[in-house]
């Protein structure tokens, strides 16, 4: 089990990127939504770096979709700038790859 952490970094074009690492699961999903909502307050596109997410279960996926829907409701979007193989696999298995890559 790897501890969930969320932090901020700067993207290639100076945009803020929320960097998530560890297990995105039942235990961390709520914290993730809170952090993401706070990070999304001032931006129209929420950049998420999920490159160091070691494990994502269905609750973690649900949290990710919640954040996406929240941004879309506001006329914004979520951009995944980096995803780990663990995240990629779950997105593929659940038919969500296109949804997130298009967003």
């Amino acid at each position: 089990m790897t501890t969930f952490q969320a932090g901020q970094a700067e993207g290639a074009n100076g945009e803020p990127v929320m960097v998530v690492s560890g297990d995105l699961d039942l235990a961390s999903a709520e914290g993730f939504v809170e952090s993401a909502t706070a990070a999304a307050a001032d931006v129209s596109v929420l950049h998420l770096d999920l490159g160091d997410v070691t494990f994502m279960d269905s609750t973690g996926l649900g949290a990710l979709i919640k954040v996406r829907n929240l941004m879309i409701e506001r006329g914004g979007s979520v951009a995944l700038v980096n995803i780990s193989s663990a995240v990629e696999r779950v997105l593929e298995l659940t038919g969500m790859s296109d949804v997130f890559h298009a967003g």
Partner: protein, 412 residues
């Protein structure tokens, strides 16, 4: 102050000075029973809400049994016989003919003693102990275990009343049929295993429609706890309704998606739905974010069906959905399952391993036996989950197409 909860006189539970502390866990109690009986294993099976099946509730000395033998029809097998006759049953030499649970045999249990757990006239379940030698039990042992089962009954009855977790489980079980009414030509079995310490929103369903179509369903509401179980119940019945009206599984899932997005915003679910007509060799499946079914044929190794996976339900009501035909030959098998069966949180030594792919592979191997769906379910759980702690709940459904005999004579 009067005691409103007292049973009418004469039906009062026997006033046994309880041997076990009220808060003691079932495995602790079983361990104590095992020591008192000098046995290698001890297991409790409880009668389920349908009153026709027994479910393994706890076991000691045989870690895989709980999951592997989730459900046994009353009357069948060793524990089923104890429940039916409500009499102690001693098996001097365990064989596959007198014991249904192959895991008992695999672990080297050679003799068994089982007694009913009753309170008053009510059957709560079955308590059994096993030894790794043949001829391990006699009539005195049966008397001693019966006394212990009576005490256990009092403890369990109190617990049934108190435990809201069991209430929630009962809700879930009441929505998951233990036995299916299916037409001739196909046999179906399913298992639901709740996560350790929690329940989730997994479900399975199999039903026939007035126009003759047979539907197979498996789904997983994202999240845990009572709320997920309630959402599951709503989706299950909504899906049944849409299935009455729509022939294409993609249409059914499109309507179900609209229903979730509108009435249950913030909820997500994966669902796999298939329809077929007799002789059930041509299935039409649609997947909303769910693992494709595994198809086994008599000729080649079982493998996941080639099936495009559309997004899970609850993301967007306008999500386009597709249906795909999946052929299953007579004598073949379909297995639908939820991610709890194959998903594992990677451990410290699992770097780089695709645990899901490995587990799907071992599931395929477990299904590569020409036996009945009940045994296939048991083997799938025993081989794929094994002694792993069930972190997520698991639903698995297996359908086998009978080998149809030609309906003309001279079929040699």
């Amino acid at each position: 102050m009067t005691d409103d909860n007292a049973a009418p006189s004469g039906e009062r539970p026997p006033a046994v000075a309880s041997t076990w502390s009220p808060g003691g866990s079932l495995p602790q109690i079983l361990d104590d029973i095992r020591q008192r009986m000098g046995s290698g294993t001890a297991t409790v099976l409880l009668i389920d809400s349908t009153r026709v099946r027994l479910e393994a509730a706890a076991t000691v000395g045989l870690e895989r049994t709980t999951r592997a033998a989730r459900s046994i029809p009353i009357g069948a097998g060793f524990a089923g016989r104890v429940a039916q006759t409500r009499q102690p049953v001693i098996i001097d030499e365990v064989t596959s003919a007198n014991v249904l649970n192959s895991v008992l045999i695999k672990h080297g249990v050679r003799s068994l003693l089982g007694v009913p757990i009753t309170v008053g006239s009510e059957l709560l379940g079955v308590l059994h102990v096993g030894k790794f030698q043949p001829n391990g039990f006699d009539d005195d042992d049966a008397l001693r275990l019966t006394e212990l089962a009576n005490e256990l009954g009092v403890v369990l009855q109190r617990r049934f009343i108190d435990d809201s977790h069991i209430a929630a489980l009962t809700l879930q079980r009441s929505l998951l049929p233990a036995a299916f009414r299916v037409p001739p030509g196909i046999e179906i079995a399913a298992r639901y295993v709740p996560a350790e310490g929690d329940l989730g929103g997994d479900w399975y369903d199999a039903f026939q429609l007035p126009d003759g179509r047979l539907a197979l369903v498996i789904g997983d509401v994202v999240g845990h706890g009572l709320e997920s179980a309630i959402i599951m119940g709503r989706l299950r019945s909504a899906l049944r309704s849409y299935a009455l009206e729509h022939h294409d599984p993609a249409d059914v899932l499109r309507h179900l998606d609209q229903k979730i997005c509108h009435f249950e915003p913030g909820q997500f679910a994966t669902v796999l739905l298939g329809f077929a007509r007799a002789p059930y060799t041509q299935w039409t499946f649609s997947s909303a974010g769910h693992f494709p079914p595994i198809v086994a044929t008599p000729e080649r190794l079982p493998a996941p069906a080639e099936l495009p996976v559309d997004p899970l339900l609850g993301v967007a009501p306008s999500t386009p959905r597709t249906s795909t035909t999946v052929a299953v030959p007579t004598g073949g098998l379909l297995c639908l399952y939820t991610d709890g069966l194959v998903e594992r949180r990677p451990g410290a030594n699992d770097d780089g391993h695709d645990l899901v792919a490995e587990n799907i592979e071992s599931l395929c191997k477990a299904l590569d036996e020409p036996d009945d769906p009940e045994s296939a379910c048991i083997r799938a759980l025993a081989d794929v989950v094994g002694e792993h702690v069930a972190e997520d709940d698991i639903a698995v459904l297996v359908a086998r197409l009978d080998v149809v005999r030609p309906d003309v004579d001279g079929d040699e």
